[in-house]
Amino acid sequence: MDIQVTDTSEEITTTSEAIQKSGSILLEHEDIQKDYINACISREKDFPTGLVLSNGMCIAMPHGKSALVKKDAISVVRLKNSTADFGRMDDKAKGIQVSLVFNLALTSGNKHLKVLRKLMSVFQNEEFMNQFAKADIEDAQKEFESVMNDNG
């Protein structure tokens, strides 16, 4: 599982800019085919993935078809100087201001369920999420990698 946590100081304000950013990192690491980025963006229009977590934090988990994924990966982008407008998964008419983007790239198969369950427990762990949002980038990378690769 390829895990990349990146900070950006760019003024990213739209769903499309946010996914361009997170997706470009997946592309650099050869996790995806180029079209995956646009697939994620266009999917967001119909079925947005923005979520408000229990600590009030707004995140999004854009993803697309497995056919365009080369290897399992998550590219997390922390927006430092702006928030990006995403639709809410449970009600696409409502927008939220996202500061953390979890761009998923998952090949098909059973392994991906395990990854998703872990990700869900991360999202529900307020302490971890608070810490993760403000930790130094090296620590954030290390901590997220360790919780996602934990086989327990």
Binding site: F47, T49, L51, V52, K65, M89, L104, L113, L116, M120
Partner: protein, 93 residues
Amino acid sequence: MKKILVVCGNGIASSSIMQSVLQDWLNEHNYDATVDKASLMDCDANKYNSYDLVVSSTKIETSGVTTPIIVGAGLITGIGEDQIYDEVEKVVK
């Protein structure tokens, strides 16, 4: 046996999470029910109506659906999951 359908945008991430969480809950509470998943784009009223309950990541605006529909995004965030399980329980018990 009751049949539950879990749906999300493309049947990849959100529905997989909801399906797995829901199946665990049903097993834990000894309810005998099957949980299938699908993409919203592949579903019409007939498909929904062939199930006893639909759990969707988002609002469903398809007309002619008589099966109860629950918005289940809370199974991912943990927010309001008790209400979701209450609704599920009404159908499966």
